[in-house]
Subunit: 256 residues, 2 copies
Amino acid sequence: MDKLTVIKIGGQVIDNASDLKQFLSSFKALTGHKILVHGGGKKATELSKKLGIEPKMIDGRRITDGDTLEVVTMVYGGLINKNIVAQLQARGENAIGLSGADGNLIPATKRVHPTIDFGFVGDFEVANINTTLLQSLLAQDITPVCCALTHDNRGTMLNTNADSLAAGLAQSMADQFKTELVYCFEKSGVLIDVNDESSLLKELSFDAYQQLKGNGKIVDGMIPKLDNAFQTHEKGVGVTIKNALQLNETTGTQLI
Amino acid sequence: MDKLTVIKIGGQVIDNASDLKQFLSSFKALTGHKILVHGGGKKATELSKKLGIEPKMIDGRRITDGDTLEVVTMVYGGLINKNIVAQLQARGENAIGLSGADGNLIPATKRVHPTIDFGFVGDFEVANINTTLLQSLLAQDITPVCCALTHDNRGTMLNTNADSLAAGLAQSMADQFKTELVYCFEKSGVLIDVNDESSLLKELSFDAYQQLKGNGKIVDGMIPKLDNAFQTHEKGVGVTIKNALQLNETTGTQLI
């Protein structure tokens, strides 16, 4: 089977122009088929603020109202996506920007929750991902660059978690390619002490994860990230969590 | 040869949600391969105003400075493009949004002018359009939806005239498909008296166009539009200029 690496980058590397350039050069240097998934970064928050759109939170959860959906569609689907695609083209990497609406890549449904209306937030089934489109692009040596937007098949875009989207894409391709998922962020990997980079776990098993979560050593945003990661690992996908600026180095936390 | 229709819509139909819905339903109903090219609309101007970006003009020509490039990348490449793609998906039309950077569809160069620096404005050569990508998508029954952005192959997006882009796409495909170009706008077609819809010219030859231009009957924005149109017609492409809300009717001005 051919090799496929699905790499997700988050806000920090996107917000810093020189970090992004460094990352994209490393991305270009990777061999084999690739898919890049990007999150948002500060730009959407900044634009919302400039436009006087107040961030809406319910029970500490961010709500995507209509105005916010416009902002994320502009920033994720337009500004960030096209900026990354143009910079990859400049490096000789033939990239194509995709939202989940493009080519019906990721049909989703508006989230239903018993008490919270999250607004225009989409959840998707891995089985519904349009792998035919991805395979066709990869066969033409075109690298998909996916923003974290899906659509409801009724004409509306939906905001979707970028970690889940990357995990879903990797899972959907796992029977066609020898697939790896790499979650890139600003830390070296999974740390026992979030303020101490030397506390990096080079390997992490599901049992160890459960224990660390129980002890309160792994908290906050790392929990949904690792839930997505282990779910993907279970499907036979190799998963690494590492620093975005060490993409080509053998570093980070490898799930075992 | 298979039939291909390249349709360009402008701002007016994009700005009006119900007109856009009507247009997209007519677009879906068209048979054969299709490519949709869309312009901007008021949204970019509105967003610029809200962000305090002053429109820059030199000698009556609009300049695309860095801030404006960000706005058009967000609005054309993100908001409008994804909105159209999602609405076409809802109608069962498998659309894919593309800028000129995506799949290296339209490499361009920053405009050089002896006296005016137009900023981030791109001009392209028809011969450089990536027809392989378009052919591959059309063969998969995927309909490209192109926004009027190109890229300089050095990492920067460029603002490009939507009429020229549609004309270029039609010309580039003319030897592979029986190609038609349809310029849609808010008028019935080319009018002798711009305020009188009954003065519609059902047919227009290049000689008649030159005469009407000489007489001052055809002025302003119609001149570059018709220059693009006749240049495309010369390449064996059928060209019609018509009302966006009469897409499926035999109306408008046919170039002869």
